[in-house]
């Protein structure tokens, strides 16, 4: 029975832009801070104040529009969405209705093992509201308007997703995109990237969509998945019991994992949209659009494909490298003009560098080592001037102060010249002579014993020799 039902999901994703100032005022656009400390009279809705559009937000929106292959119009119009709420200082939100900044476009997501194209209806710019802080014991409500006026882009998808996993993939891919475009920090806990999900159920043979229910304000991938799955089950259960679905807005309770009615259609506001007479239509300069298109970045999805097929990186490495756009940039810079094998750089970044970052609980932006120093170390390894372990040693020595790099290299490599092939061959011969038993084992097929023999040679060379070369010399000698 239940496999007869089909789920239809559309998402409205709110992306908080990381502009320096707010969408219509010069107040700083920063998360947190003492309540109402990051507000101007414009954000507070003071009588007589007027909004002025933040050009940086327009540019960011265009960047997103270009990346999503959406249509950027010649002019875009701001509209007032009128409703009363204590954290909405003007009694209306400046948003867009007709003529949004982006219409159409698409986002590719994963659907099972397939790639699926999700079409977008539109994306518009709007200002965020403040926050009400309820103090129930004192029957008081405080207002923090720091967030009021923060720029948001709301991306509205077509109802083309079929299950929670697709919705999560949509969110993940869009988040990765906006982070790589450097227009949003993607911080879901702080609400910089959140969504409303519209869910309806229909019989698979039906053309007409079922009654939709909107779940508001989902701010983690887990919540998106859980809320949608709960809602699908709830709606199918009702339909199977021949109960109607009410068109309503619901809230997800992360404690119980359930959705609950917030308001029904009857309680919906009539927002009385009309174009904001305080703001003239924003003309989008063709040359500016051209410029933004010309400097468009490689999209994360394209990067993923290139890393796998051209650079030969594995999936785990790709995920790690793309999880932080700054890390991606570090990686790409390291291979850009250095002729380093990408695989080597990727191994080191996802291995050694990540380990350090994790140990010290910092991110790549806080690292004290420049790409140049990093490349220098890897070059030594690549040209067999030092071993991987030498490289790690150097890295450790310069971790706090990269100015020490020349000294560190000198220290690590000093005495290396004593271990040229000729010297090394002598040591190998000596070690092999001392271990006839192990040679016998090796020759009888126990290849693992090679590691022991290499270790013995390393010991004699005080760790300065290159294990690769040792291994090769031993093999050559024994296979003669």
């Amino acid at each position: 029975m239940s496999n007869n039902w089909e789920t239809v999901i559309g998402l409205e994703v709110h992306i908080q832009l990381n502009t320096k100032s707010k969408l219509f005022s010069g107040a700083p656009n920063k998360f947190g801070g003492v309540a109402n400390s990051q507000t101007s009279l414009i954000d507070l809705g003071y009588p007589g104040t007027l909004p002025v559009i933040n050009e940086e937000a327009i540019v960011m929106a265009i960047k997103l529009g270009v990346a999503l292959d959406g249509n950027i119009p010649e002019q875009t119009v701001f509209a007032r969405k009128n409703y009363f709420y204590p954290d909405l200082p003007k009694g209306y939100q400046i948003s867009q209705f007709d003529e949004p900044i982006i219409s159409g476009g698409f986002l590719l997501i994963e659907a099972g093992s397939q790639e699926k194209k999700i079409n977008l209806t539109r994306a518009h710019l709007e200002e965020d509201a403040g926050k009400s802080i309820h103090i129930p014991n004192e029957r008081l409500t405080g207002l923090d308007l720091n967030r009021a006026g923060t720029p948001l882009i709301e991306v509205v998808s077509e109802p083309e997703m079929r299950n929670a996993q697709e919705a999560v993939s949509f969110m993940k891919n869009l988040r990765e995109l906006v982070r790589h475009l450097q227009i949003c920090d993607g911080n879901m806990q702080e609400g910089s990237f959140r969504c409303d999900a519209n869910i309806s159920i229909k019989r698979s043979q039906d053309k007409k969509l079922g009654t939709k229910v909107e779940i508001k304000n989902l701010n983690s991938f887990k919540f998106v998945e859980n809320a949608i799955n709960f809602e699908i089950a709830r709606q199918i259960n009702r339909l199977e019991n021949k109960e109607k679905i009410t068109q309503e807005t619901r809230l997800y309770d992360e404690k119980t994992g359930e959705t609950k009615t917030m308001r029904t259609k009857e309680d919906e506001n009539d927002y009385r949209y009309f174009s904001d007479p305080d703001l003239l239509p924003v003309e989008i300069d063709k040359n500016k659009l051209k410029l933004i298109k010309s400097i468009a970045i490689e999209l994360p999805l394209d990067k993923r494909k290139r890393y796998a097929t051209v650079l030969g990186l594995n999936q785990a490495q790709i995920d790690t490298l793309l999880a932080d756009p700054a890390l991606t940039r570090f990686f790409e810079k390291s291979i850009a003009n250095s002729a380093l094998p990408p695989k080597l750089a990727a191994n080191w970044i996802t291995g050694e560098i990540m380990k350090y970052l994790k140990d010290q609980n910092i991110n790549i932006k806080q690292i004290k080592i420049s790409v140049e120093s990093f490349v220098k170390i890897l070059k030594l390894i690549e040209t067999d001037k030092c071993t991987q372990n030498d490289g790690k040693r150097i890295l450790r020595m310069i971790w706090e102060d990269e100015a020490l790099i020349e000294e560190a290299i000198k220290k690590t490599l000093s005495g290396k010249e004593n271990f040229n092939d000729e010297n090394l061959r002598k040591i190998v011969s000596k070690v092999l002579n001392e271990h006839p038993k192990q040679i016998e084992q090796y020759l009888s097929g126990k290849n693992k014993i090679l590691g022991f023999l290499v270790g013995q040679v390393m010991k004699v060379s005080a760790g300065k020799a290159d294990p690769k070369s040792i291994s090769k010399l031993i093999k050559d000698k024994l296979n003669q």
Partner: protein, 491 residues
């Protein structure tokens, strides 16, 4: 010697020659305000102490301040925010509201060294044309204390007419500068929409609101324009279009200038004594070498209906912020957020404001938006087009400012608001088209009440508008007439 009807250039001369000090000048007007305000109620707030202090400062550095306006007293309509000086907008809602900043026009005046004497009375949130909707009581017309001064800038108009201040700022959404200027027998200029920053002017209908000036004569308007108008990046609708050298262009000869006479402005609605005065005015222009051209503004009659959709629609949204949450009046009879909203707005707003909020809310509601708001916007383009066509043939358009002279104060008798609305028929089309227009004195009716003539100019061409108006004043005496009331203040 200071006289109450000194023009700005008279005052400037007096200050420059040291005929009087700035403090004497300021005190002179403040004393007149003190006497007169009890009778005509044209000031909501008088800034006696701060004005005298500023005047003393101006005297001390009178030779070093390069501003030609330094030390000249003026008044602001109480719609302009003034830092730390109460700004009420004529409403109980803002009875005790102290702004934290100066409106752009106020800031510019301050920078020039102008001395603000006070804040003038007005219809509540600029909604009205009699000044009777003010929470602070009606203003009386200095020409006849039983008559309305007009509105909404009635306080500014009455104050200038009564010789209490050399000039005052005003705002004009549907005639709120020109109509009171006409009814009080003074000069009132509404510049082109976008010419003067709206920043800090409490919004009524954003797409129509325009700041301007109420003055003794056209020359003073030109000075105000030179010093207080101009682009402001804080107002997105402010126009970045160069200003003219208004004062020096006042004296250009009018020979060959074409003055349009719209037949729609001279039909049966117009009082015959006003028609008579305008006929005389036309003669003066003819003698000055102007060519009078009959024109048509065929869609004029649709203007009022369109205006009373668009203005209330915008006001319903603009006034939503007065909710008792952050500033202004808050009802104490509330126990939850909904009752706080309802009671605050019910108790804080007057009847006319509530009426317009309701009309506007209705006009924007889903299902009615297309029928009303969209339709009104279409009418607006039609009206703009009417003017565009007319201005292909003429330089300025001449007509009445109001259909009648000042009418009796009698708030209670005004049961049908549409009757009042319809008297804005000559001023409203100008706001809908965003054009500059000026009302100048053009005679008197039988009851010795002033009559105003309106001249409408092309967008951003205040130069020609002021030139034409000034030339009329050079050849007429109406703007020198002063109400008898003036004398009662001299005692």
């Amino acid at each position: 010697m200071i006289t109450p009807t000194d023009s700005l250039s008279d005052i400037k001369k007096g200050l420059d020659n040291k005929s009087f000090s700035c403090k004497e000048l300021t005190k002179f007007f403040l004393d007149r305000i003190e006497k007169a305000n009890k009778k005509i109620n044209c000031f909501i707030t008088v800034c006696r102490e701060s004005a005298l202090k500023e005047a003393e400062k101006a005297d001390l550095k009178s030779n070093s301040v390069p501003s030609p306006f330094a030390g000249i007293p003026y008044a602001n309509k109480d719609i302009f925010c003034t830092s730390q000086i109460r700004t009420t907008c004529g409403s109980k809602m803002l009875e005790n509201f102290l702004p934290l900043y100066d409106a752009e026009i106020v800031r510019r005046a301050k920078n020039l060294g102008l001395i603000m004497l006070g804040k003038t009375n007005m219809d509540e949130f600029a909604m009205g044309s009699t000044n009777e909707t003010s929470f602070f009581g009606a203003v009386k017309n200095p020409w006849d204390l039983t008559k309305v001064p007009g509105g909404s800038s009635g306080g500014s108009a009455a104050a200038v007419a009564a010789g209490l201040v050399p000039f005052a700022t005003g705002s004009d959404t549907g005639g709120s500068i020109r109509q009171p200027a006409a009814l009080c027998g003074i000069t009132g200029l509404k510049p082109t929409y976008g010419r003067i920053s709206r920043f800090g002017m409490i919004a009524f209908a954003s797409s129509l609101d325009q700041a301007g000036f109420l003055t003794r004569n056209v020359e003073d308007c030109a000075l105000c324009m030179e010093f207080l108008s101009g682009f402001d990046p804080k107002d997105s609708t402010s126009a970045n279009i160069p200003k003219g050298d208004y004062s020096s262009e006042l004296y250009a000869k009018l020979e060959g200038k074409k003055i349009g006479i719209p037949k729609e402005y001279f039909d049966g609605n117009l009082d015959s004594e006003i028609g008579h005065c305008l006929a005389e005015a036309k003669d003066i222009f003819s003698k000055l070498g102007c060519v009078l051209v009959d024109i048509e503004l065929p869609n004029t009659e649709m203007a009022i209906a369109a205006y009373y959709i668009i203005a209330p629609a915008e006001c319903s949204s603009n006034l939503a912020r007065f909710d008792g949450v952050r500033y202004g009046f808050r009802s104490i009879n509330s126990n939850d957020i909904d009752s706080l909203y309802k009671n605050t707005r019910n108790e804080g707003f007057g009847t006319e404001v509530k009426r317009r909020i309701l009309i506007g809310t209705y006009a924007l509601s889903s299902g009615y938006y297309d029928k009303y708001y969209e339709q009104a916007q279409r009418v607006r383009s039609v009206l703009k087009n009417d003017f565009n066509q007319a201005f292909k043939k003429v330089d300025v358009i001449l007509g009445p400012t109001t259909p009648s002279t000042a009418f009796p104060l009698n708030k209670e008798a005004r049961n049908d608001p549409t009757e009042l609305y319809s008297s804005d028929l000559y001023t409203i089309p100008v706001n809908l088209a965003g054009l500059p227009a000026i009302s100048i004195p053009a005679g008197f009716g039988k009851k010795e009440l002033p009559i105003g003539m309106q001249l409408i100019g092309q967008a951003f061409n205040e130069r020609v508008l002021l030139n034409v108006a000034h030339q009329f004043q050079l050849h007429s005496e109406w703007h020198y007439q002063i109400p008898k009331f003036n004398e009662s203040c001299d005692e």
